[in-house]
């Protein structure tokens, strides 16, 4: 059974059909990428998966559960975490607090526990703080634990978003253009990081424009153009697909 399965998912904004009868699936434990020109509907797909938008038609099934109609918070707690194309960290919270907040859905302290700091609440806080530190080490940001998220260097902010997303032990991690704005060395580190995330058992699905990175890390690539899937398969095959080349480079003159 695939971890995530989209079947004929459709989403329109007014007259604009952003996602057109899209079907694809993600195998558990895989790294897959979604590419396509700007405006192809990639981020809309992420927003449909995380419940920011409800689909107009079609179904999304994650880990055996239908996602359609569930709220974002509920979907997050089912085990889907994400990063954002425009970094959305909690700017004026420390890096450590950002990661601890990422654990929210897996924590149990309620109003009473938070108010009184019961022994159980304390134990939970300690464990979560320790886990958050581990994750900061994992993304090589431990020395920024006490800094405000906004004071981290750009590449660090991208990695902090990943750590925050991982804090909830997700089954599926959605990365929205994780390499945007990174220099070559940061990109190399990111490739290693994505591989390590997969090794830890998390399925990774990313949107990326950097072809070298996509071809390097992903096992499967889905190509969108004008909201439609135009190609899908192994990176090397997709790269040579005529429709993909056309979508990216345009049609050769006179060929029409």
């Amino acid at each position: 059974m695939p971890l995530l399965q989209l079947t004929d998912v459709r989403k329109a904004f007014g007259g604009l059909v952003a996602v057109k009868d899209l079907s694809f699936e993600l195998a558990e434990g895989s790294i897959a990428a979604m590419i396509g020109p700007n405006g192809a509907g990639k981020s809309t797909v992420f927003n449909l998966i995380t419940g920011i938008y409800a689909p107009d038609a079609g179904s999304l099934v994650f880990d055996g559960k239908k996602l359609g109609g569930l709220g974002t918070a509920r979907i997050a707690s089912l085990g889907i975490a994400r990063t954002f194309q425009n970094i959305r960290l909690f700017a004026y919270m420390s890096a450590l607090d950002n990661v601890m907040t990422g654990r929210h859905a897996r924590m149990h302290a309620g109003i009473f526990g938070s108010l009184v700091h019961t022994p159980r609440q304390r134990a939970e806080e300690r464990a979560v703080r320790e886990r958050a530190r581990e994750l900061l080490r994992f993304v090589e940001l431990e020395r920024y634990a006490g800094s405000y998220a906004r004071n981290l260097p750009y590449g660090g902010q991208r990695r902090l978003e990943i750590a925050r997303a991982l804090a909830g032990d997700p089954k599926l991690l959605l990365l929205d253009e994780p390499a945007a704005g990174m220099n070559p060395r940061e990109k190399d580190a990111l490739i290693g990081l994505i591989a390590r995330i997969r090794e830890s058992g998390v399925t990774v699905f990313l949107i990326e424009h950097d072809m070298a990175l996509v071809m390097n890390v992903s096992e499967r690539v889905t190509v969108l153009d004008y909201g439609e899937k135009i190609a899908e398969g192994l990176p090397d095959v997709v790269r040579r697909d005529e429709r993909v080349i056309e979508a990216y480079l345009g049609r050769a003159e006179g060929a029409a």
């Binding site: 995380t50 920011i52 709220g71 974002t72 918070a73 509920r74 997050a76 707690s77 975490a81 994400r82 954002f84 959305r88 960290l89 909690f90 700017a91 004026y92 919270m93 607090d97 601890m100 907040t101 990422g102 929210h104 859905a105 897996r106 924590m107 302290a109 309620g110 109003i111 526990g113 938070s114 108010l115 009184v116 700091h117 609440q121 939970e124 806080e125 405000y148 906004r150 925050r164 909830g168």
Partner: protein
């Protein structure tokens, strides 16, 4: 060390200074410290601008007046009311919170402003239950181990000191907890917060309810001490006063909020009346209390100009405001 000294000084104050009016002033100031601590949860932690916070103060006060007086012949003991009133206020916090969940910033402020107007109006107009503009008087006097509090402010002073201690502890615990982080996450980026699995509905409602419960406590102590509640004690100016305390002291910082609250109370209820008395003694026909709002205005405008993060700012607020200030230069 410093804190221990402060605690000893506060505990010993009524023995050192036998002037009842000083103790009385401090007890009243204590009620406002509680209010400021409560509003700080809503505005400082969760970032929900509430301009009608006095409504919950009114609800706390009136719940004591109605449940512990001759009004209906119900006499719930004061100490029990300290448990009941926060719950009542919290319920009204939920009631206000529910319709405002989708609102933010200016819109939220306007709805809370409306709520702040509606509540005292309701107490004013339900005259058959509340005696309208006359309010409810002759409230039950609290007693401890059979000793009634009497007319001295000292027992109320100690009650409020205790409530403030509990309030500080509660606010601090909340700040460093799963709930506190969820509030701050909502304040920073509501959409991202939802992606963390934070249920923004219940989290915001918790802020309104817990924030309101503080003013429930303040209301009971204040009403019992004053022996009177009337609708005019809970107007918009009270909401603004408490919000000014946060701005002055430093929004989001528990100690800052306490200092801001105390400073404004001091100016309001001590400095201005005392100056007026002195002026009269010197033969000057000046009433400084008439300049109260002008003075608030000057304080607030100066704070915004020179120290927008407050006297004792939270780390976040200071960084936030100084980044904004520095931005044009670095651009």
């Amino acid at each position: 060390m410093g804190l221990g000294f402060l605690v000893v000084a506060l505990l010993g104050f009524p023995f050192m200074d036998r002037n009842n009016s000083h103790v009385d002033f401090l007890a009243n100031a204590g009620a406002f410290v509680l209010l400021a601590l409560g509003l700080n949860i809503v505005v400082g932690f969760a970032g929900l601008l509430d301009l009608g916070y006095a409504a919950f103060f009114a609800i706390g006060s009136y719940s004591y007046a109605m449940l512990a007086s001759q009004q209906f012949g119900i006499h719930v003991p004061f100490w029990l009311m300290l448990l009941v009133a926060p719950v009542v206020a919290a319920l009204f916090g939920l009631l206000l919170g529910a319709p405002t969940l989708r609102l933010r910033g200016d819109y939220l402020a306007i709805v809370t402003l409306g709520f702040g107007e509606i509540v005292p109006q309701t107490f004013l107009n339900l005259a058959q239950y509340t005696n309208g503009p006359n309010g409810i008087s002759s409230l039950d006097q609290p007693s401890l181990f059979g000793h009634p509090f009497g007319f001295s402010a000292t027992p109320y002073y100690y009650v409020l000191l205790g409530l403030i201690a509990i309030g500080i502890l509660a606010a601090r615990n909340l700040q460093n907890s799963r709930l506190g982080r969820a509030w701050m996450a909502i304040r920073e980026d509501e959409l991202a917060a939802r992606h963390m699995g934070i249920n923004t509905t219940t989290t915001k409602l918790a802020a309104f309810a817990l924030g309101a419960s503080f003013s429930g406590l303040a209301g009971v102590a204040y009403a019992a001490k004053l022996d009177l509640v009337s609708p005019d004690q809970f107007g918009f100016n009270v909401s603004v006063l408490v919000l000014s305390m946060l701005v002055l002291g430093g929004m989001g910082n528990i100690w800052g909020v306490i200092v801001g609250s105390f400073v404004l109370s001091f100016v309001n209820s001590f400095l201005l009346p005392q100056s007026t008395t002195l002026a009269h003694a010197a033969g000057l026909n000046l009433d400084f209390t008439n300049y109260r709002f002008m003075l608030y205005g000057v304080i607030l405008v100066s704070m915004m100009l020179f120290r927008p993060e407050g006297l004792i700012p939270s780390r976040q607020r200071a960084a936030e405001l100084h980044d904004v200030a520095a931005a044009p230069e670095s651009a």
